[in-house]
Symmetry: C2
Subunit: 411 residues, 2 copies
Amino acid sequence: MTRSQGVTRQSTLAHRTRREPPAGEPSRNARILERAGYVDKLMAGVYSFLPLGLRVLRNIEDIVRDEMTAVGGNEVLMPALHPIAAWEATGRQDMPILFRTGGDTAVLGPTHEEVVTPLMAAQVASYKDLPTAVFQIQNKFRDEARPKSGLLRGREFGMKDMYSFHLSGADLETYYEQVADAYRRVFARCGLGEVTHYTYASGGDFCEFSHEFQAVTPHGEDTVYLDHGKGTAINKEILDRYTPEEIAELEPVRAIEVGNIFKLGTRFADAVGFRLPDATGVPQRIHMGCYGIGTTRLVGAIAEILSTDDAMVWPAGVAPYAVHVIPLSAQQHQRAEEVAAALHRRGHTVLLDDRPARAGAKLADADLIGIPHRAVVGARTEEGRVEHSDRLADVTRTVPVAELAQLVTAV
Amino acid sequence: MTRSQGVTRQSTLAHRTRREPPAGEPSRNARILERAGYVDKLMAGVYSFLPLGLRVLRNIEDIVRDEMTAVGGNEVLMPALHPIAAWEATGRQDMPILFRTGGDTAVLGPTHEEVVTPLMAAQVASYKDLPTAVFQIQNKFRDEARPKSGLLRGREFGMKDMYSFHLSGADLETYYEQVADAYRRVFARCGLGEVTHYTYASGGDFCEFSHEFQAVTPHGEDTVYLDHGKGTAINKEILDRYTPEEIAELEPVRAIEVGNIFKLGTRFADAVGFRLPDATGVPQRIHMGCYGIGTTRLVGAIAEILSTDDAMVWPAGVAPYAVHVIPLSAQQHQRAEEVAAALHRRGHTVLLDDRPARAGAKLADADLIGIPHRAVVGARTEEGRVEHSDRLADVTRTVPVAELAQLVTAV
């Protein structure tokens, strides 16, 4: 256990792969992520993130943070433990998914409108401070009856939730569209841009429509209806608003919900008496939007969509490392160290498989781990060269070490 | 709400200071942190972190992460929600501070021996993988009866907890001393190096001594006895192991516990049957160490120790920004923007007070906010110069803008 030189040596990582997926696990994402040593299941819907899984999660969080900051979001961090009184104030204290604790004096937050609304009522001094938005990346708790979708439906899960505050519904509309664009950038950077569809869903009691971002995959939990003409989709819960002729034009597909955005109107601000006098001194109601992305769910969704039974390939933006450097035997260790050091000097993150394992076992593990670039040094690899695989492009060729760093897209 | 240019404009921050500390709040750290707009109290012992407070917390987390990685710690992330069965396995299911939930099927983790031990038993394939250590930075839950010390004793609080695994007690001893040194570096980088003392405490059922890191302050919750000769301290719980003559040599002082380290021996590994065959095939018991730092408590401890009633000064390593740039009136806004941009180009983080507020209000807020370097631009400040205050050194002088960036210690 010595100071890392920027290159992670696989022998020092608290990590192992498994020959088989966990017994009795129906979820595709959980099977591959547990087998590859990214996560460990503690109980149904509750996972530990191991070192590689945590690196993927942090990369996703950084992308989300970057895009929320770009639309003016202020990052904050609210607690998971909420006084029950906050939920009584909005009348949502009997939601069945609420975990109660502390002798029923507290609940574990499944969402944060009950906390963020009074918080911002205290922080916002004047109508001139609006519009404003705050977001957090924090663990949520929902007592799901039968969580069986791996990281897609957790009882404890990571989420980015943003809340915006406006003096009018029109101002909320404008901001809502900005956030929708930011969400498109998030999913594109996470490698799901092409499969993710902006989907009209029910607005419930709050508004006509809410919107989901649905990533199409044969194993998705949801069914959505693609409208190829408009480039959008429709959630089945609002299908009854369409005529049979319209519905006949739509393509039903399975999908995973990776984000959702919602106009809350004045419901929560009204519940806690949050109003602000405008320039003329007349108290104005406050309109809110809320914007969610399940960060741990996104780890699961990417794994679900971009894996086979025995292999994963992470998109460059979320991969735990940019390059996996693999000497096929102990004789190539020194050369592999030099390759890793050269990549590191060029700013790439590197996992070096320095374990005293057989070549076949190392390569099978590398397939499971799914780092997008692989640099193999074998006995037959000429001095000064490596066998480079771009696993997303599925291209392998032998290149000079000096060229390798340029072939690897910087993460 | 537009993309941040790297300089944070105070007008865009979800932040306000208060004229008065919160009514009825006895805790010194909570009074200053709430008044300065760093945190907001949701319920007793449960706080939200506002943008400035979260930046301080993240800086502390980064320091802790850096030093734990430097002693070979692997970062992981375990859940807060634990099955009650895990606590029954170690016989600790009746600890009074446990929050129970999910109809008594689960508890909220006050610590993670119950989770990390079986997790590592599954991850560690061979005795050759030891020693190893994993750590996380994650929220803990403890149902304290009367939390009244602000961020020093929370019911939900951020903590770094590391766990190490060894084949012998001697190997644990060696690593334990390495971690103790890493802890000294953490507290030095957080600005508490000089006041923090390595303190012998009871080892409970586990070992002869555990060790606390106690930061001396007149308002501390604990009493410790400084041994000036040895440069260490003694917790009062082990005072009875010393003779009256020895005790007379010690100086009793008040202090805040900012970290603790503990040799757990084989207690937890034995409870879950975690053993490993050694090179000769003989199963060996596994020795564990655990190492805690309360990250949110450290925010509170620094504020408690480095504040007066109306002002704070954050140490450079944890300050939310390196420089606070303050134009005294609207006429100086453009010049202040240029100063901020120049500092930013030199790699410094900058908070720019662009609010249309009175000069006196801005300066009083800046005292509360406590950024260690201040650059004021007033009507009487000559063109091309700023009034620079190094608030830790308590030195103010007018300097050319070009020199300012060099005066500011890089964070």
